[in-house]
């Protein structure tokens, strides 16, 4: 099966700024793919290239087997887009905006539309100019999710939504995934991506710096172990020199250490020799993975690691 999205060496510049710099991205069909990066890293630019709104300067971009620039109209029949910053027509109600967009697509299923309006608790009678940010976002979500398509491109789709609506959104995306539809979910809500996505790509300054399944990425990182040991002094002396062990800290009769994933078995075996009373292990969270890619930037921003 071909990938729903396949990008190799994509370059896009705006004047002197290189927004995308040899960027790569692969999203398999039927996959919910997390697309992570801070503001200005190139997430929206990538999605706008995929929508054929921006023309790539260089690189190969294939979307559902077609060229997003040349075949824009026919490809758009097969995808739906949720922008992150939604502006509605001031004098159209939310319901009218949803219907106008749906009809430009060629019609939408009224029962699906009404079901989504109900689930997102949207009042469709309010005029576009009077909606709050979160409600404008809901209008865009309903308009896109009501479309019966293979691919959903979502650019920070839940900005401005409250936690309840965030939960509704996650439920709807899971349903789409169960039906075998593909979702590219650009977000900086890491918890959302961690729950919904099996694979993620982290973008930084227009380049993909990490890409893979969450398990693969985690295996590249360290597991944090906290243990209560009978021979704390012996362990504190022996462990820092062991292979694959980092950042050993001792406090309140506990020892905390970071272990490289390949050495996990050996180090645990070593730990048992000091008499383990209790032990907890934390696999790295997506937040750790993400922030590690940006650790130098955090340092410049004056954020001390471990103080998060």
């Amino acid at each position: 099966m071909t990938d729903a999205i396949h990008i190799r060496g994509l370059v896009k510049s705006f004047g002197a700024t290189r927004a995308l710099d040899e960027f790569d991205l692969s999203v398999g069909t039927g996959e919910v793919h997390g697309f992570l990066g801070p503001n200005g890293a190139g997430k929206s630019t990538t999605i706008r290239v995929l929508l054929g709104l921006l023309r790539a300067d260089a690189g190969d971009v294939s979307l559902l087997g077609g060229d997003p620039w040349k075949d824009a109209v026919s490809l758009h029949r097969r995808l739906a887009y949720v922008p992150g910053d939604v502006n509605l027509w001031p004098n159209l109600s939310g319901g009218e905006a949803i219907d106008v967009l749906g009809r430009l697509r060629g019609g939408l299923d009224p029962s699906r539309r009404n079901e989504l309006i109900e689930r997102f608790e949207l009042d469709p009678r309010i005029k576009g100019r009077a909606y709050s940010k979160g409600n404008r976002q809901k209008v865009a979500l309903v308009a896109a999710l009501a479309a019966d398509t293979e691919l959903y491109l979502m650019d920070e789709p839940t900005s401005g939504l409250d936690p309840l609506m965030e939960a509704v959104f996650q439920q709807v995306v899971r349903e789409l995934a169960d039906e075998g539809r593909t979702v590219l979910l650009s977000s900086h809500i890491l918890a959302q991506v961690e729950v919904l996505c099996r694979r993620v790509t982290i973008i930084r300054a227009g380049k993909a710096v990490q890409s893979g399944s969450l398990e693969e990425l985690r295996s590249l990182r360290r597991t944090t172990v906290t243990a209560a040991l009978r021979d704390l002094d012996g362990a504190a002396a022996a462990l820092p020199s062991a292979n694959g062990v980092h950042n050993v800290q001792r406090h309140d009769g506990h020892l905390t250490l970071d272990i490289d994933t390949p050495s996990l078995g050996d180090v645990l075996a070593l730990l048992t020799t000091f008499g383990v009373d209790s032990l907890t292990a934390h696999p790295p969270t997506l937040e750790d993975l993400f922030l590690r890619e940006y650790s130098d930037e955090l340092a410049t921003l004056g954020v001390v690691e471990g103080s998060r």
């Binding site: 706008r48 887009y81 910053d85 027509w89 009218e96 106008v100 009809r103 309010i126």
Partner: protein
């Protein structure tokens, strides 16, 4: 022993705390706007004075003008007609030019107040400001002060322009004082409307409606009761300002009414501010339909719905001007007959002075329609910048369809506006001239300008396709077309070569000439197609 010292109690804790700082910010925000307004108004006053001083040198020519302006249709667009029996340049200025300066200043002031009071609140800026130690009324005071300062600046420049144009000081003070008073009054109106609605656009529209109503009240009043003798005139700030009879009787007391009313409106605004929450209006936003009607399907329907307000207001304005021109045609012919020097401006063709005047005014109305068409292209650009363009173009909607539909709606609306205008102007002209020009001749004159309007539209589309950021440059071209269209006959040869109206046969004064009309039609089509093709090839921004 150490203790955390309690912060000193801020003495600024009233409803007006922090006003001085906010006033400074508001004045800084408006600085360049105010300067542009003042300089443009000054130039307009100087240019008008210069025109009057050179054109109406003899008492006979001024009296001919007085006869023209005393007709009902002209009175509606001028003033109460003080000093018509001895129509000096001063009386003429106060009667005919004053009103338009006042209208401009009123628009400036009402927009300034909604911008400071409502747009800031709508965008959430006011919330930031109000979270600082700033009183509830401070922002309202600051916005009003900014509008008052801008109004006063324009009034001062107007006064200087009038005096520089050779008019006496007391009369100029009365006329400029009227300008300032009208600006203050509409600032007060906007202070109230800004409390009523949650959207700056709606607040401005309400204030504009008040402006329109008071303009019409004064017009009806002055037509029925010359020299401010009708009650209706006294219901309008324009009526109060013109009741000063500047340069004729020059009296200042009518201005007091306006300043008292302004004060009352400001008091009402403050009272309303205390009765509502930040971010809300006192009038509830009307709800829309929960779902779209079947008619609201497709790009053309969407564009028409978006543009309906603009099409109706431009259309109404242009058709109304056409009606005035038609009604004035009879008086205008008498005026031109008694004032041969105007033969330059209104070339008398084979069909006489009336046909010449109608031809010139048809071009004027056509350029105004072209200006509407250009705003429609600007609206397409606004869709793109507001990212609504991207939302629609992410659907199976091609670039050709997206921009083509919007261009098509603009073109169709322009055709409708011009044909209705031709019909109305023709009917009114035929009635006021009793013979000489038929309705269908005037409709034909309106129709023959359509290819030139199409060229203006096409040029705007081409700019949108090629250099969207520079779309505003089109307004320099619109101004150029406007100036050479009205004054082409008295400008140096060749300056009008770039205006499509230069090549349009001036019906009904001239005979029909098909080749230029066909060439302009093809040119308009080529410009639109080139613009659409360029749009297909560029990035969608916003």
């Amino acid at each position: 022993m150490t203790a955390v010292a309690a912060p000193p109690v801020d003495v600024r804790s009233g409803a007006l705390s922090g006003t001085r700082d906010l006033v400074r910010v508001a004045l800084r925000l408006d600085r360049s706007r105010t300067i542009i307004w003042a300089v443009s108004m000054g130039l307009i006053v100087l240019a008008s004075m210069n025109a009057l001083n050179t054109r109406y040198v003899t008492p006979e020519s001024r009296q001919a003008r007085a006869t023209l302006i005393s007709s009902p249709a002209a009175t509606a667009l001028a003033g109460p007609g003080y000093g018509l029996d001895n129509y000096t340049i001063g009386a003429m200025t106060a009667n005919e030019i004053g009103l338009w300066i006042m209208v401009a200043v009123a628009i400036m002031a009402l927009l300034a107040v909604t911008r400071h009071l409502r747009a800031a609140e709508e965008d959430g800026r006011l919330e930031l400001v109000r979270s600082a130690p700033v009183g509830r009324n401070s922002a309202v005071v600051a916005g009003l002060v900014a509008a008052f300062v801008a109004t006063f600046a324009v009034g001062l420049v107007t006064f200087l322009g009038l005096v520089a144009g050779g008019l006496e000081v007391p009369g100029s003070a009365a006329l400029a004082g009227g300008v300032v008073m009208v600006g203050f009054a509409f600032a007060g109106v906007s202070a109230v409307t800004s409390q009523l609605t949650a959207q700056a656009r709606t607040a401005s529209a309400l204030s504009m409606a008040v402006l329109g109503i008071t303009f019409v009240l004064r017009a009806i009043g002055d037509v029925n009761g010359p020299q401010s003798t009708s009650v209706l005139t006294w219901l309008s700030p324009f009526g109060w300002a013109q009741a000063t009879a500047a340069y004729v009787d020059t009296r200042f007391w009518p201005l007091a009414i306006g300043f008292v009313v302004t004060g009352a409106l400001v008091v009402v605004a403050f009272w309303l501010v205390g009765r509502r929450d930040v971010g809300t209006g006192l009038l509830a936003e009307r709800l829309g339909r929960p779902a779209a009607t079947p008619r609201l399907t497709g790009m053309v329907a969407l564009t028409s719905r978006r543009q309906l307000g603009a099409i109706l207001s431009w259309g109404f304005g242009i058709v109304a001007m056409g009606a005035f021109v038609g009604l004035l045609a009879g008086a205008l012919v008498d005026f031109i007959d008694s004032e041969p020097s105007l033969g330059d401006v209104f070339p008398a063709g084979a069909n006489g002075a009336a046909a010449g005047a109608l031809a010139v005014y048809t071009v004027f109305l056509a350029v105004t329609t072209g200006a509407y068409a250009v705003t429609a292209v600007g609206a397409a650009r606004a869709e793109e910048v507001a990212t609504r363009g991207a939302a629609v173009l992410a659907l199976p909607v091609s670039r050709w369809r997206w921009l083509g539909s919007q261009t098509g709606v603009a073109a169709a609306a322009s055709v409708a506006i011009m044909l209705v205008t031709g019909l109305v102007m023709g009917a009114t002209a035929a009635s006021s001239l009793d013979g000489g020009v038929s309705v269908w001749q005037v409709v034909g004159a309106a129709a023959v300008t359509l290819p030139a309007i199409g060229c203006m539209l096409g040029l705007a589309v081409l700019l949108l396709g090629l250099v969207p950021r520079a779309l505003a440059v089109i307004w320099a071209y619109v101004t150029y077309v406007f100036v050479v269209g009205l004054f082409g006959a008295i400008l140096p040869d060749g300056t009008d070569a770039l205006s499509p109206f230069t090549y349009t046969p001036q019906l009904p004064a001239e005979a029909m000439d098909w080749p230029p009309v066909i060439v302009l039609t093809l040119l308009a089509a080529a410009l639109v197609v080139a613009g659409l093709a360029a749009f297909r090839r560029r990035d969608v921004v916003g």
